[in-house]
Amino acid sequence: MLKKRLIFTLLYSAGNFMLSRNFKLQKVGNAEWLKNCYNFRNIAFSIDELILLDVTRNNRDIQLFSQALRSIVDTCFIPIAAGGGIKDEKDAELLMKSGADKLVLNTALMKNISLTKTLIRKYGSQCIIASVDYKEERQASEVFINNGTESIRHNLAEYLQYLEEQEVGEIYLNSMDRDGTGQGYPVNYLKTIVDKINIPVILAGGAGKYQHFIEALNNLKIDAVATANLFNFIGNGFPEARDKMLNNGIQLAKWDKHAGKNLEGYFLKPPNSYNQT
């Protein structure tokens, strides 16, 4: 049986990693900080997938972003999705060559559907994640593009149906109202909307504690839960959240989270110095 997923989203902006609250960004640290101070590796061995988004507001530099991607993927042995500001096939190719397994599109889904279609043809539907930023308003202007700055003339249900028709592989559904608040996902608001979607849905925006992951996975027809909050699950937050989810009957993939670090340099150590079981 295919397993549910726990996903971490890293928000990148001009060389730094960011905290976002209702789409207002706050700088936290650079790649060096992420590796050495934040202990990102510990987190990387406790999640099923990583999403890296370039949320730079002005003058995005995809070359720099692809370097950040490369520096992160070298100790992550999970599928990695990357996106934010993909303008053409070349941008997509650069991210794929820098270690991405999937591409995240947002504004292009509305403004450049031919690019979306080209990328689906080239890499396959399963490679394309449609990122959707919305506010809980139940009206025709509740979906936003361009880093949440521009509303489109569709309500959420209509827009999701449109995306499914375009044959994107998955939907990353991100609540702008809940973003960074830690108040939990809008489970009730999304119930009837998510029920109608027939492709995998990743829920994002609002998780503050592991109970939120369990609540959403138990009550909504979704495949994955994500959080982009760098601090709500700091330290042993992710390993513990994963254990609690498994203990509560959530069907996640299993592996020995603690063995990963010991496997580094396995073939450089003297023979028999490491007992694999």
Binding site: M1, L2, K3, R5, F45, D48, V73, D74, T75, F77, I78, P79, I80, M96, K97, S98, G99, D101, G124, S125, Q126, G169, P200, D223, L252, A253, K254, W255, D256, K257, A259, G260, L263, E264, G265, Y266, F267, L268, K269, Q276, T277
Partner: protein, 205 residues
């Protein structure tokens, strides 16, 4: 030296990362002498079977891989499409003959709505060990999770299947035949389970 076959089909970046993490020395090559002097060979692959076989033929790599397997007995691991290429044939984009190291054909998943077949089959799924003394799955739980992303699969055959998976039907997720190995899933994307599997492969002498 571990040689990753370079034939422009696939995400070799992450395979190399995993090998480097484990302390294994690797490089990409399509050169005959380099490949035939490898300690281990990895055949990666994402994309079309037909196109992949075409490139392997064009680069004369079919003959090189035959020599590596049948004369030099170099351990060979095919990953994802790379595993399928080790089989007899595939029906993707028309019938195409494979390398034939593993006596199994490749075909699209049979779409069975009652069995909830997912096409493409994407995500972590459990692989059930099918052998008493498996090599690749040695030291792992008898049911271990690995990351898949594919729409075609190698048929199930008891003698070469060392680990099976179920997606509407039972298929070969992990194959072993002599020193030829294949995984339909991506060990380089399967967390600690995948790293352990790569260690098992690299320990084959």
């Amino acid at each position: 030296m571990i040689i990753i076959i370079n034939y422009e089909m696939g995400n070799i970046y992450s395979i190399r990362n995993a090998l480097t993490y484990l302390g294994g020395k690797s490089s990409y090559s399509d050169d005959k002498d380099t490949i035939l002097s490898a300690s281990h060979i990895i055949l990666p692959g994402v994309g079309s079977y037909r196109k992949a076989m075409g490139i392997l033929h064009d680069k004369n790599l079919v003959a090189v891989l035959n020599e590596a397997v049948y004369e030099k007995h170099i351990p060979l691991l095919g990953i994802c499409l790379g595993m399928q290429l080790l089989g007899l044939s595939s029906t993707e984009h028309g019938f195409t003959k494979g390398l034939g190291f593993i006596n199994c054909a490749v075909d699209r998943f049979v779409d069975n709505p009652l069995a909830q077949t997912k096409i493409p089959h994407v995500g972590f799924n459990n692989v059930e060990c099918n052998k008493k003394n498996p090599i690749l799955l040695s030291g792992l739980n008898s049911s271990s999770d690995f990351y898949f992303t594919h729409s075609y699969r190698m048929e199930y055959q008891d003698d070469v299947c060392s680990g099976y998976c179920i997606n509407g039907e039972k298929f070969t997720a992990c194959a072993e035949h002599g020193k030829v190995f294949g995984t339909q899933f991506h060990p380089e994307k399967s967390q600690v389970n995948g790293l352990k599997l790569l260690i098992n492969f690299l320990n084959v002498k």
